[in-house]
Amino acid sequence: MIFFRRFIASILCVTVLNLSSPLVAQAGVIGTLQAVESQHRTADLATVNSALARDQVRAQLGAMGVDATHVDSRVAAMTDAELRSLAGEIENLPAGADALAVIGIVFLVLLILEAVGVLDIFKSFP
């Protein structure tokens, strides 16, 4: 069973590695996105290694609970600039949806107001 799993895992590894980079960037020509970026930004961006960023983001997504079968398609849909912006920053960038945390704040505010004496809503509970 273990051997079988290892076998599957190694096959997956190979496929995943093959899938890793989009094939559109071809030798010789400068991509449109690269041309656009070169007009906006300074050259230092070019020194950040996109391939490295890609690997880093892939590893981070996996470590953060994204199913292995989806990691590659997610990475493949990102541009180099996006990958560079994510690499190392996934922990810190805004992640929309924390609705419950907002509720936490609402209660916190209510509690503070209660404690300060502005509100009087929790007294009705025994």
């Binding site: 989009p22 094939l23 559109v24 960037a25 071809q26 010789g28 020509v29 400068i30 991509g31 449109t32 996105l33 690269q34 041309a35 656009v36 970026e37 070169s38 906006h40 930004r41 300074t42 050259a43 961006l45 070019a46 997504l61 470590a63 953060m64 609970g65 994204v66 199913d67 989806h70 398609s73 997610r74 493949a76 849909a77 990102m78 541009t79 180099d80 996006e82 912006s85 994510l86 996934i90 922990e91 960038l93 805004p94 992640a95 929309g96 949806a97 924390d98 609705a99 419950l100 945390a101 907002v102 509720i103 936490g104 704040i105 609402v106």
Partner: protein
């Protein structure tokens, strides 16, 4: 647990929605926009716990006739360890579904212009503070100038009315991030060339060549003097191995901006591949002149080296080495 979460969510939203603004009236709405807009046909997907990213994205995609549900998007945009979705992943997933993710300029009236043009807008809000930032995605579907309010598809609320002041504050704190999911070829109300071509180039970069082509083509019509849309069309042709088409499209780009380094470099590369070494050498020399000290210098130097190494004689049908836009139309594909 889920029920409790939904109830808490609803209470939170009621609370947030209830605090309407009482401050001075402000004119966030565009002068020419109608007094009231509500895009009622915009679908609504109530979010599951933490999953407003997939829900909000599904809303704007489905509004643009993409057949998708939040559940299908969860594996594409949800990040379990963060219990949320990142902006970049919403952009990427939009691309993966064949739509053009257009990031709006960070201005209030731009949002309302798009609503007036009938497009729902995906926005990021920051509703909390400190350790609870409360990042939240919602979809703007309307506004009412008289009531000074906006309408959102948000969380578990189909039609959340929020004071425009409170909304704009939360949007401001969220970094003024707003995205449209456009059908490629469709232009936003206040289209800016750089933003549009940037988004189109993103489609090209991930291999969505048909979608990128449609976007570049409408950009070339909307901004007839701009070189970038033609560079994009040429690069797509090159990616499809249609060298002859690519060559004349690079000519179109260069006719609009003779100093465009990328177009000049790529034109040289294509000439080389067509077997026209002399013409390529002339082109790359010009590119090198423009590229000096710029971000593309290394790429141009590399092309120049490759051209210098080439030894094959020019193909019979090569263009005369003149850099006039109209000269090369005869086609120069070697047999």
């Amino acid at each position: 647990m889920k029920l409790a979460a939904h109830a808490a969510c609803a209470i939170g939203w009621l609370w947030l929605a209830g605090c309407t603004a009482s401050g001075p009236r402000q004119e966030a709405f565009g002068e020419t926009d109608p007094a009231q807009v509500e895009l009622e046909a915009t679908p609504f997907f109530p979010q599951s716990e933490y999953q407003c990213g997939p829900a909000a994205l599904a809303t704007v995609l489905a509004a643009g006739a993409v057949d998708v549900t939040p559940d299908e998007l969860v594996p594409e945009v949800y990040l379990p360890a963060r219990r949320g979705s990142l902006q970049v992943e919403l952009v990427a997933a939009t691309r993966a579904r064949g739509r053009l993710p257009y990031l709006l300029a960070p201005l209030d009236d731009v949002l309302f212009d798009e609503l007036a043009a009938g497009r729902p807008v995906l926005v990021l809000q920051k509703l909390g503070a400190g350790p609870w930032p409360g990042w939240h995605y919602a979809v703007l579907v309307g506004y009412d100038r008289e009531r000074q309010s906006v309408l959102l598809r948000s969380g578990t609320t189909r039609r959340l009315e929020m004071s425009v002041r409170r909304f704009l504050w939360s949007w401001q704190r969220g970094g003024r991030w707003a995205m449209l999911a456009l059908e490629p070829g469709e232009l936003p109300a206040g289209a800016e060339m750089d933003r549009y071509v940037d988004a189109a180039a993103g489609l090209e970069a991930v291999g969505k060549l048909d979608e990128a082509t449609r976007a570049y083509r409408s950009a070339s019509l909307r901004w007839p003097d701009a070189a970038l849309p033609w560079l994009g069309l040429a690069n797509v042709a090159y990616a499809r191995d249609d060298l002859t088409a690519a060559q004349s499209l690079y000519e179109e780009a260069l006719a609009r901006d003779p100093a465009d380094v990328a177009a000049r470099n790529n034109h040289a590369e294509v000439l080389l591949q067509l077997g026209c070494r002399s013409a390529a050498a002339l082109e790359i020399a010009v590119a090198q002149g423009h590229a000096r000290g710029g971000a593309l210098e290394a790429a141009v130097t590399e092309t120049a080296a490759r051209i210098a190494e080439a030894t094959a004689p020019d193909a019979a049908a090569c263009p005369t080495p003149a850099r006039d836009a109209n000269v090369v139309d005869g086609g120069a594909r070697p047999e």
